[in-house]
Symmetry: C2
Subunit: 102 residues, 2 copies
DNA sequence: CTATAATATCAATACTCATTGATATTAATT
DNA sequence: AATTAATATCAATGAGTATTGATATTATAG
């Protein structure tokens, strides 16, 4: 069965969702964060020190990633440990293939 | 061998390129255009009429896609036929997997 | 209880970029 | 040559958003 965009409501919705997802990860610092979290969960201070970026900027980007449920967080003392939501990422990655692969 | 981001120059460059690519396709109307061109090559007037968007807006987005070499174009009389550069798209799609798949 | 470390929030600024309206260019048709 | 169709370009506007500086919150340590 052929994937059709821009026609029925289902495919319109999928396209809008895909664009939303892409906007989230199409930011260099957020992509760096995703990349960093790929192998280890990390606290905020690890991330901003590693990336050499202001703490509040990293917090801001983490919030955007979290709101979109691409990462999740748990408290550990004064630290907050962030981890990647790989399932969600893969789900969207797969969605994307509709627009790219035949 | 493990894919490492943010460390060596090669992976930094790949990440920057990936983010650039994502910015290009992370726009709903451009994603629609890509989707439309997936099955048929189309002239500009087909695209803007199909998507119900202003002609100059579509031309603008096509230029962005073309500058990034995601589409190419050929003249046919007064019309300009655009087609998808599937190879390039797939190349970037594959690059993305570094950040998403394990 | 106070001080410190880690994180989040808020307001202001700066910047990017999608969109629009008007106009230019190019090719075909009469 | 003049008109029309198709496309591209340009300047201006507006919306969204990344970044920064300052401050608030929360939890631990002394």
């Amino acid at each position: 069965m052929e994937f059709s965009c821009c026609k029925n409501n289902q495919s319109k919705k999928e396209l809008a969702q895909s664009a939303e997802f892409l906007k989230i990860i199409a930011e260099e610092n957020r992509l760096k964060i995703i990349c960093l979290l790929k192998h280890h969960d990390r606290c905020v201070c690890d991330i901003w020190q590693y990336l050499d970026l202001p703490q509040n900027l990293i917090s801001h980007h983490l919030k955007i990633l979290k709101d979109f449920e691409l990462v999740s967080s748990k408290k550990q003392g004064t630290k907050v440990i962030y981890s990647l939501n790989s399932k969600k990422l893969k789900k969207y990655y797969l969605l994307l293939s509709h627009y790219i692969n035949n």
